[in-house]
């Protein structure tokens, strides 16, 4: 449904997005994660033709966005909740777009109700809206054309915890009915609970992508043992990748059971043996994106290679 092929965008001689390739399937929510300035917004703008890529292409339903006859009826977009005329009333802003894409005006009221903007708020001018109200108006706007695809940039910004929970439910429901969702965030927690797949971007490059399980399998198992030297030798002997993980800990790229059997065979007492799950995703996110602008090329970045191998 959404397909990015080697999207590249340069600004002032510097690549802000490099070779970004991914695919979002119907029925899934894809979380687009990365720190501020990593290239999320630029990538999303290229998907919908607001920004022209220097190379590569973006396809929706197999077509370029600008070739879709009435894109508002197939793709719902929220790229910037503040991008509304401050002097226009909330309801009028929706009614205008409804008219443009040929949607009956009654749908405006349906959606205002859905996103929880009451009549008083809808009559106010957008300039007086709080960020949370703008996000709700923006979501209503994205859903206005009854689209099959949603592309949302930081939609949780400005929403209170209750609003965030509500939005997650809405997106989940949308995907469960066969819709395709791509939503970006710089906060792992916002995306983790709802996304089926994650796309991690840092320094303009995709650092990792896959389902939560795929990403976490790669982060392996945390081990603590009384005799680390023997354990290390045994692990290496079995051909497993071992990383120091702070203190006496090791991060091993293997299932806990494999490590436990090796430990028994070598008479090593394990003090701790646990999947690196809780901390795994967060650590991964920071490691992958910390490099930022001076990101190493994928060829010399071991983590990237491992992850790319996992998803291939």
């Amino acid at each position: 449904m959404i397909k990015a092929e080697e999207l590249t965008k340069r600004r002032g001689g510097r690549a802000v997005v490099s070779d970004v390739t991914f695919c979002c399937e119907p029925g899934t929510v894809t979380g687009f994660l990365g720190p501020n300035g990593a290239g999320k917004t630029t990538t999303m703008r290229m998907l919908v033709g607001l920004s022209a890529p220097d190379s590569g292409q973006a396809l929706l339903f197999g077509e370029r966005y600008r070739d879709l006859p009435n894109p508002g009826r197939r793709v719902g977009i929220l790229l910037d909740a503040s991008a509304q005329h401050a002097g226009r009333r909330g309801r009028e802003a929706l009614a205008l777009s409804a008219q443009m894409m040929g949607v009956p005006v009654q749908r405006v009221d349906t959606l205002l109700e859905l996103v929880g903007l009451d009549e008083t708020v809808a009559r106010r001018r957008v300039g007086q809206y709080s960020l949370g109200m703008r996000q709700r108006l923006g979501l209503a706007h994205a859903l206005l054309g009854d689209p099959e695809v949603l592309i949302l940039d930081e939609p949780a910004n400005g929403l209170d915890p209750e609003g965030m929970r509500w939005m997650r439910g809405l997106l989940r429901g949308f995907a469960d009915r066969g819709g395709t969702v791509l939503l970006s965030s710089h906060l792992l927690a916002e995306v983790e609970a709802v996304a089926d797949r994650m796309l991690i971007i840092g320094g303009g490059r995709i650092r990792a992508q896959g389902t939560r399980a795929e990403l976490l399998t790669e982060s392996g198992t945390i081990v603590e043992a009384d005799d680390l030297a023997t354990l290390d030798a045994a692990l290496h002997g079995a051909g497993l990748a071992v990383h120091a993980a702070g203190g006496d800990r090791r991060l091993v790229e293997a299932e806990p059971e494999v490590i436990a059997r090796l430990a028994i065979a070598n008479d090593v007492v394990l003090r701790r043996l646990a999947p690196a799950e809780e901390t795994g995703l967060e650590r991964l996110f920071f490691e992958l994106t910390a490099a930022g602008a001076s990101a190493p090329s994928p060829k010399t970045d071991p983590l990237h290679l491992e992850l790319a191998g996992a998803t291939a």
Binding site: A52, R74, A83, G87, L96
Partner: protein, 261 residues
């Protein structure tokens, strides 16, 4: 507030999903945009109110010779002539300054269609304004009933020329807006450039060219007197320089420029 309501598909016009919004619909939307913001709404109200004020002032202060249709029209068109280009500018620049372009150009990705709709909507607004201005002017003339010869002479021609005058004015505004894509610089340029140009043109070696290139000299007669062939040619060349050229540059700019990030 359940998510299920979103599932309810739009029950009519499912064909519309794959049909391009027609130009007529886009024009209607652009007309709506001109009056559905606070600034846009009051700009139109101000235009009608000011027209009434100048017509009344002409009635009070002028003498019989000023109270012919031509005499009142001359001043009665001024508010529209000043404010319509500003409306034209804002129609384009607000897509950038208010960042609504992110919505407009996402819904209609072929930007030249949006610009086309804006041009047509501008012309519709100019003609509507003309009808209102002429009505106010005619009412003023009727009330004044100057009783001089030729009170109603050349009415049709003058209205036709006024249509050209107001229409070209708002199109110049759209063009300047498209070239600069920012409200304040476009409004300043639109008011300052012709003045500067008049100053330059007053230098003796430009004196011959001025009537052909200075919009203030070339277009002013449109709402004052019946034009002869030379005057039409002068209006044409001035409009080519101040309307068509900026419009071409504007089309080039608007279709390429990244929408505000």
């Amino acid at each position: 507030m359940s998510a299920t309501t979103v599932a309810a598909p739009i029950d009519v016009d499912t064909a519309g999903v794959h049909a391009r919004p027609g130009l007529g619909r886009l024009v209607t939307v652009e007309l709506r945009k001109m009056v559905n913001t606070r600034a846009g709404f009051w700009l139109q109200i101000a235009m009608i109110a000011l027209t009434a004020v100048v017509v009344i002032a002409r009635r009070v202060f002028g003498d019989g010779a000023d109270h012919t249709f031509a005499g009142v029209l001359d001043v009665g068109l001024q508010p529209a002539a000043v404010l319509l280009p500003v409306t034209g500018i804002l129609l384009v620049t607000s897509e950038w300054s208010q960042r609504t372009g992110m919505i407009t150009f996402a819904l209609v990705p072929v930007r030249s269609r949006v610009l086309g709709a804006k041009l047509i909507a501008s012309i519709v607004l100019a003609l509507t304004t003309l009808v209102m201005s002429v009505a106010v002017v005619a009412a003023g003339v009727l009330v004044a009933s100057p009783g001089v010869d030729g009170t109603w002479s050349d009415v049709a021609t003058l209205i036709g020329q006024s249509a050209v005058y107001l229409t070209s004015g708002i199109v110049v505004g759209v063009a300047f807006g498209a070239v600069l894509l920012a409200s304040a610089p476009a409004i300043v340029a639109l008011s300052a450039l012709p003045i500067t140009w008049t100053a330059v043109a007053s230098l003796s070696f430009f004196a011959d060219a001025a009537p052909w290139l200075d919009t203030r000299l070339a277009l002013a007669p449109l709402h004052q007197e019946v034009l002869n062939a030379t005057q039409w040619a002068q209006a044409g060349t001035a409009l080519a320089l101040w309307m068509l050229l900026p419009l071409l540059i504007g089309i080039w700019r608007l279709t390429r420029r990244e929408v505000a990030a």
